[in-house]
């Protein structure tokens, strides 16, 4: 498990990182925590000439508040997000999901931005980010641009972050007072999700006023179950009402078949887990 040799760069500012990226050419990988990249390098599934480590860029770390948004620097570790009161209060769904990521060692090394850009559909932060209508701040030599959640995940391991660009922050609209639940289904605790459902709902007088639902590992990208979201609006937060609304959770999805389950089983799980997540989020 020894990687092929590579040049290692550790810039201390976003500006330096961008110019390093520009100079590096094609054969470069960005290290953002390394919980996926290092196994790839050690197993020699990839052997880049250069690795640019963002770990020393302080401006990419930390959680802050910006009006109606919670802003999370791309290099903030899972552990720091998990410990953040701001996130817990205004985007509790993300807190729920991160509590389920792998194990404490990985949560202290891995970063939210790294995971989002790696874009493994079985990863746990994509679906809640999608459900929370997160905005993705992408920085390149030409400056910053903001991409909506629905446009960020493009395919398996592919995002809107282009060549020479970095994800620098995510901006999550505050969902203060919303209920939330991340239902993760695994065989052993440290596994990637076989299927998971991220649900956050606003309940008003026993009725679901708004619902946001993201699906993990139900296709090549995290997915949003918009039909279920709409069907839930105005429904009582009861088992029966929610069960009906969630029946269509897997419609239109194309989940993978592998060691842990086939496509049909995943679709079945998605409907069960969506109901459970919504009920829990609604306090039912």
């Amino acid at each position: 498990m020894i990687p092929a040799s590579f040049d290692y760069l550790a810039p201390t500012s976003v500006a330096d990182a961008l110019s390093a990226l520009a100079e590096a050419g094609d054969d470069v990988e960005v290290l953002a925590g390394g919980q996926s990249l290092l196994p790839i390098l050690r197993m020699r599934l990839n052997a880049p000439d250069k690795v640019i480590d963002l770990g020393r860029i302080k401006e990419l770390q930390g959680v802050s508040e910006d009006g109606d948004h919670v802003v999370i620097g791309a290099m903030t570790t899972y552990a720091d997000v998990l410990a953040s009161d701001l996130v817990r209060q205004h985007a509790g769904l993300l807190t729920d999901a991160i509590a389920e990521v792998a194990d404490p060692q990985i949560r202290h090394r891995g970063t939210v931005g790294g995971a989002l850009v790696h874009a493994d559909p079985a990863g746990d932060v994509g679906a809640p980010a999608l459900a929370l209508d997160t905005e993705f701040v992408i920085t390149g030599s030409g400056g910053e641009r903001t991409v909506a959640a629905g446009d960020f995940f493009q395919d398996l391991f592919e995002t809107a972050v282009g060549e020479g660009e970095l994800l620098t922050a995510i901006r999550i609209p505050k969902h203060t007072g919303w209920g939330h639940r991340y239902e993760k289904f695994v065989r052993v605790s440290h596994q990637w999700s076989i299927v998971a459902v991220a649900a956050t709902v606003r309940v008003d007088g026993g009725t679901i006023a708004e619902a946001r639902i993201g699906l993990t590992n139900m296709g090549s990208t995290p997915l949003r179950a918009t039909a279920v979201e709409q069907a839930l609006v105005g429904k009582a937060a009861t088992d029966e009402a929610v069960r009906d609304a969630c029946a269509a959770a897997a419609d239109g999805t194309n989940p993978p078949s592998d060691l842990n389950g086939d496509s049909d089983y995943r679709k079945h799980l998605a409907t069960v887990l969506t109901r459970r997540a919504v009920l829990a989020a609604a306090g039912g």
């Binding site: 498990m1 020894i2 092929a4 599934l45 398996l156 592998d258 389950g261």
Partner: protein
């Protein structure tokens, strides 16, 4: 002279001592093989075949030889037969077919992961880099992977052999006179009783020891020294001599601290022999340490059997006959005891029940998969699983509680010693007491009540209760039995006790611990026997120069056989010391008593300590006339018979019928492992064993794709549980001392892993029986459980899909795609 502590007189045997070896083992600040650094040491990297079955048609090593730091690139052609061989020590039949197993292949690759070339370089990184540059041309051959397909001989794993069938071995109670005719009894039951027929798949497992295997070979001295992460240093030394032609006296093997084995290091490996070969070739010390990925594909695997079972009983559920037909997948080669693993189960299918007739047949077959050999329990877990699943099915058929059907059929306490239908004599046991205690600890009735309530209210989460009343045979092994089975060695064990001049004691054992706690337990035994403080005893092991005689550690043998050797050596020391004591006390030896480390003249205060006698023999100033100085002693113990631990295991599992998820609720076991030396070590052994057995039931399975590539090639896909996946077990013990050794000990190393698997699967099936489910194939994954519920018992559509989800970009550059070309780079990892 050092003053030694006085003994308090509290027995060490039975004391919950913290393990003296734990600090260094747990912190890792110790001599693991990979921690060894020798002057001028070079590093090896293996070039492995990505193909399951192929001919090597060319190896281009030029680029690798020119790479920085490379000292040598060695192929099979460079070392040929001089590299020795990976041997099979137990031909189970006279006509067993066992293909030659060369460490570095000459041209024929029989499974993925075989070593094709070895790169030796100044650093491990340089060796790895250069290994990527070795270009191997392969002609791929069709591969046979499944044991049932192998029986047909349509595709041959080793075309030269002309068949995949290695050996057919049979035990028949009518033939050997230990019971009646199986077919007669089954016919009778078909007419007027109950016949249960099942086929069970024992999936393939991978023994996942904590420390990957590592070997350092130093060829520069008069003796070649081999440090290696092994369970069997003595066997390795013998086999190096036997297969390479190096005189045995020129080989020293050291197993330093070894981080787990579970049978996975009960092997002499291709990697050990390849490292030895290249070290001799370059004349310098060489280290090789495997990666985890290499370990999973090239360390031997376990289990992988198809079990066809027929149980006959009378209408009231009294068992009469059992017929077992196995097909056992040996993988590409017959390992050290690979063919013998299913045979070790032959005496255990009848378990604790009084069958009248029994027949066991196993067909071992060769395939193009990683070779299969011992894994914790070795043959006995498979047997126990089969019979305990059948007994639950019998209970369901008769309509009685699974505990009742067992009690109706088991050997009663007043029937010991009991000779089983398979011909084994069980030394002692008390199934009634262990079961009663387990039932009490478990709250069996309370959980049964909850189960029926959940059934009544159609709770989506159902509760199942699983029973396993197991026994096993421990203490490998009486040499006469091994001889009768044509095993290539004896089963004795050796110990020496050295009484040092300063009053300290060295106990040398031929067993080779790799996590069991022998240093602590052997110290406890010797402390009681010699009457010296626990702290004054050092236990030495695992080095053929320090412990020249030994047969190592496996098969729950160390305490039962090796511990008894310590007892006998210590007793000899006391006998020798007594002569000196009588002389110094000016008394007759007949008048001396020995207690708490002191000889006293009976009826007086006149006495002398055994450590003072150790000093006296060192100075030799005043010894009896003609007494040869020295009170050290050796002993070799060869057991007359096996010991038979047993236990009652009860497991409650919640099954979420909506998802198929299983959640363990409660696990209670009451094991009778005979006399306990250290209760803390026993608990640790049982806890670890339980989780390994539960892992077979719920989580672990080695999966190959149809090309013979190991899909579960990392811990991403080989789903090993962690502490986070389990619950707190309730473990207790009852004690029926063994009658086959003076300590009364039985074995405990494998008990948990043997007993727990059927308890868990029985619980899962028990939860779902009202839904029409009668079986769930292992591992009982949520998908399989859910599909079993959907199809009410038929599990045919719940086969494991042989592909893994890519969590890393499959399109990344420089990735080898093993099954798309005939020429690849060599890494294969």
């Amino acid at each position: 002279m050092t003053v030694t502590e006085e003994r308090t007189g509290t027995p060490e045997i039975g004391n919950r001592r913290l393990r003296k070896e734990d600090q260094r083992l747990i912190t890792g600040r110790t001599r693991w093989t990979d921690n060894i650094i020798l002057p001028g040491m070079l590093h090896a990297a293996m070039v492995r075949s990505p193909h399951a079955h192929a001919m090597v048609t060319g190896i281009d090593t030029e680029a690798a030889r020119k790479a920085p730091g490379v000292v040598a690139v060695v192929t099979g052609a460079d070392v040929k037969d001089g590299q020795g061989a990976v041997a099979n020590a137990w031909p189970i039949t006279a006509d067993q077919k066992a293909p030659a197993h060369l460490p570095i292949v000459l041209d024929h690759v029989a499974c993925a992961g075989e070593i094709v070339a070895v790169v030796v370089a100044r650093t491990a990184a340089q060796a790895r880099d250069a290994a990527e540059l070795v270009d191997v041309d392969y002609d791929e051959l069709p591969a046979v992977l499944d044991a049932k397909e192998a029986v047909d001989d349509a595709v041959l794993a080793h075309p030269d052999l002309g068949t995949n069938k290695s050996a057919l071995w049979r035990l028949d109670s009518a033939d050997q006179g230990s019971g009646g005719d199986v077919d007669e009894e089954i016919d009778k039951a078909r007419a007027e009783g109950i016949v249960i027929e099942r086929e069970i798949r024992q999936q393939r497992l991978i023994p996942s020891f904590m420390e990957p295997r590592s070997t350092v070979v130093d060829p520069t001295g008069e003796q070649i020294t081999v440090w290696t992460s092994t369970q069997v240093p003595h066997i390795l030394r013998f086999l190096i001599a036997a297969t390479t032609g190096i005189p045995e006296s020129k080989v020293r093997v050291i197993a330093p601290d070894v981080g787990g084995g579970f049978g996975g290091k009960l092997q002499t490996t291709a990697e050990e022999f390849a490292t030895l070969a290249v070290a001799r070739l370059v004349g310098k010390p060489v280290k090789y340490t495997e990666t985890r990925s290499e370990s999973l594909v090239s360390g031997h695997h376990g289990r992988d059997q198809y079990q066809k079972l027929t149980l006959a009983a009378t209408k009231d559920g009294t068992v009469t006959a059992l017929k077992v037909d196995l097909i056992a997948n040996l993988g590409a080669y017959v390992g050290l005891v690979g063919g013998g693993v299913p045979v070790l189960g032959a005496w255990m299918y009848n378990a604790i029940y009084k069958f009248r007739a029994y027949r066991f047949t196993v067909q071992t077959v060769l395939t193009n998969t990683t070779w299969v050999d011992a894994y914790r329990g070795a043959g006995r877990p498979e047997a126990t699983f089969a019979i305990e699943r059948l007994m639950d099915d019998l209970a369901a058929e008769v309509g009685v509680d699974p505990l009742q059907i067992r009690e109706q059929n088991w050997i009663r306490n007043d029937e010991f010693p009991f000779t089983s239908v398979a011909g084994m004599t069980y030394d002692s046991g008390n199934y009634e007491v262990a079961t009663a205690r387990a039932v009490e600890l478990f709250d069996y009735e309370g959980l049964r009540r909850e189960q029926s309530e959940r059934r009544e209210r159609k709770d989506p989460v159902q509760l199942g209760i699983g029973v396993s009343t197991f026994t096993e045979m421990c203490g490998l092994a009486p040499s006469r039995v091994l001889g009768a089975l044509n095993y290539g060695a004896g089963g004795w064990e050796h110990a020496s006790v050295r009484m040092l001049a300063t009053g300290k004691v060295e106990v040398i054992t031929g067993t080779s611990p790799h996590g069991q706690g022998h240093e602590t337990a052997w110290s406890q035994i010797a402390a009681d026997r010699l009457g010296v403080p626990f702290e004054d005893i050092e236990v030495l092991h695992g080095d053929t120069q320090i412990a020249p005689r030994g047969l190592d550690t496996y098969g729950s043998r160390s305490l039962v056989v090796g511990g008894e050797a310590v007892v006998r050596a210590a007793d000899k020391v006391v006998e020798k010391a007594k002569v000196v004591a009588a002389h110094l006390l000016e008394a007759s030896a007949d008048d001396l008593e020995f207690s708490n480390g002191r000889f006293t003249v009976r009826g007086t205060d006149n006495g002398i300590g055994i450590t003072e006698i150790a000093t006296a023999q060192f100075t030799s100033h005043n010894l009896p006339a003609g007494f040869e100085p020295g009170i050290d002693a050796d002993a070799t113990f060869d057991p007359d018979d096996f010991s038979f631990p047993h236990g009652t295991h009860l497991c409650a599992v919640e099954v979420d019928t909506e998802t198929g998820q299983t959640t363990m609720r409660k696990y209670v076991c009451v094991d009778d492992v005979g006399q306990i030396i250290n209760p803390l070590i026993v608990e640790g052994q049982v806890h670890g064993g339980l989780l390994q057995g539960i892992a077979q039931a719920l989580w672990e399975e080695a999966v190959f794709d149809d090309q013979g590539t190991l899909v579960t090639g990392s811990f991403v896909d080989y789903t090993l549980p962690t502490a986070a996946d389990t619950i707190s077990f309730v473990t207790e013990n009852t004690t029926s001392p063994s009658t086959t050794n003076t300590l009364g000990t039985k074995g405990v190393g494998e008990a948990g892993s043997i007993a727990s698997t059927p308890a868990v699967v029985n619980a899962v099936v028990d939860a779902l029986r009202p839904l029409g489910v009668t079986d769930v194939q292992m591992p009982c994954t949520p998908k399989r459980v859910w599909k079993a519920i959907q199809s009410a018992g038929s599990v045919s559509d719940a086969a494991t899909i042989d592909s893994a989800q890519p969590h890393f970009d499959p399109g990344a550059p420089n990735q080898d795609a093993p099954d798309t070309g005939t020429s690849t780079n060599g890494a294969g990892q």
